[in-house]
């Protein structure tokens, strides 16, 4: 019921373009910030850099929207359009860092992007366990091939459809689905390896005692 009362993206865009309604633009940003920032964060694994890229993305968005005033051509596809800009900014950064074409290695610093999140109460055991699980899962995500990781993040974080992901990344929908398939299977395999190592470790500990 609440979602019915919310103005559409297009209504917010129109309010901003027609009358400079700041609150409408803020609502638009806050509505999609998790999706856009989640993708960038998942790709660069650094909160400060993700903030820079997030802001850089919106600088381009704002400029393009105001240049296009009166002839806005992205009706109904604002998020896809913004995601395209966010992706370009992110890929540009990764290419400069020479991290885009290379398959991710294990040379991470032990910090995942989930670890960099501000936690409300990390002291409890349950939270600690959850954070450890997040760290493990995220480490596995970072080990995925960049193309697989990107499709995974776009589908999970940004909630784009596979067809939209295919259009955004310039591949066929079958390729996008294939990358997702490998991403999930590889993650599954990594998680099973961790479980087996933990099981072997616990068995070894038992026999060594």
């Amino acid at each position: 019921m609440q979602s019915v009362m919310q103005p559409t993206d297009e209504a917010l865009i129109e309010a901003y373009l027609e009358s400079g309604d700041e609150q409408a633009f803020r609502t638009l940003v806050e509505r999609h910030q998790d999706q856009i920032f989640g993708y960038i964060m998942g790709m660069v694994h650094d909160r400060a850099i993700a903030h820079d890229l997030f802001q850089d993305t919106f600088e381009r968005v704002i400029k393009a929207m105001n240049d296009r005033r009166g002839s806005y051509t992205h009706k109904g596809q604002w998020l896809s359009w913004v995601m395209r800009i966010a992706r370009n900014a992110t890929i540009d950064y990764l290419r400069k860092q020479k991290k885009w074409s290379d398959v991710s290695s294990d040379d991470d610093e032990g910090r995942s992007f989930w670890d960099t999140l501000e936690s409300d109460m990390p002291s409890a055991d349950a939270d600690l366990h959850r954070m450890q699980q997040r760290a493990v899962l995220n480490r596995h995500i970072r080990r995925l091939a960049p193309e697989q990781r990107e499709v995974l993040l776009l589908r999970q974080q940004t909630d784009l459809t596979f067809r939209e992901i295919a259009e955004l990344t310039g591949v066929s929908i079958n390729t996008a689905l294939g990358r997702m398939r490998y991403a999930l299977k590889n993650l599954r395999g990594m998680l099973e390896d961790v479980d087996q190592q933990a099981l072997v470790g616990s068995v070894d500990d038992r026999f060594s005692m």
């Binding site: 400079g20 803020r26 920032f37 997030f54 919106f58 600088e59 005033r69 689905l177 294939g178 999930l184």
Partner: protein, 221 residues
């Protein structure tokens, strides 16, 4: 098999249109069901991850940039009202245009008189005057303009009045002073009496009895 897994992925993410048909396939094919179970477990772990969120200060900066960009860019041709607080201030206290060429016309219009009659008193408006733009017209300047307009109308009315005296009176004679300069003899009692009569007649015509001057005692006697 890959086609089935592609359909499975779209089913998992709610993009498959014929879900019932695919669910029948899942029930009929154990291998497909096992694949679904494995991938679904991974998806559940991913779904449990809270999304990272940008800091509020970054969003604030973005919104500020959006406002600045909108104000800096050319306005659309349609007369859309602007609600931006940083837009140029507009004078809204009066309908009199700021341009000197239009102010006189506005002052003498009936609509302006009606507005003036319902306008708050000067004491009510006084607190607002200090907050206004110095370049904008003030209430005081409108009052001055209104007074000048009234005086002009009075002078024009006086000059167009028919003379009530039977014979046209000559201009007052010039009297010489001790310094040799000549001054008009405005103090002549007859001339002053004539002027007061004309003023009284004018006051009756205008209909403002309070402004009619009382006859000086020295002339009534």
């Amino acid at each position: 098999m890959n086609t089935d897994i592609d359909r499975l992925l779209r089913y998992m993410y709610g993009e498959l249109e014929d879900e019932a048909d695919f669910e029948r396939a899942l029930a009929d094919c154990p291998d497909l069901f096992d694949t679904w179970f494995e991938l679904h477990e991974v998806k559940q772990k991913l779904d449990a991850q809270p999304p990272p969120r940008p800091s509020a200060s970054v969003v604030d900066r973005i919104v500020d940039q959006a406002a600045e960009a909108h104000n800096a860019s050319p306005q659309p041709e349609s007369p859309a009202p602007t609600s931006s607080p940083s837009s140029s201030p507009r004078y809204e206290g009066d309908t009199v245009p700021c341009a000197p060429s239009g102010s006189w016309v506005a002052v003498s219009s009936p609509a302006y008189h009606e507005q003036r009659s319902t306008a708050p008193s000067a004491s009510d408006r006084a607190p607002h005057a200090s907050s206004r733009n110095q370049g904008a017209p003030t209430e005081h300047s409108h009052a001055v303009a209104w007074g000048i307009a009234c005086m002009l109308a009075l002078v024009m009315a006086v000059s167009s009045l028919p003379d009530s005296s039977p014979t046209p009176e000559p201009l007052p004679a010039l009297s010489s002073t001790s310094s040799g300069t000549t001054l008009p003899d405005w103090d002549a009692p007859e001339r002053r009496a004539t002027l007061h009569r004309q003023a009284a007649a004018l006051s009756e015509r205008v209909g403002t009895p309070s402004s009619s001057p009382a006859a000086p005692r020295s002339f009534s006697q």
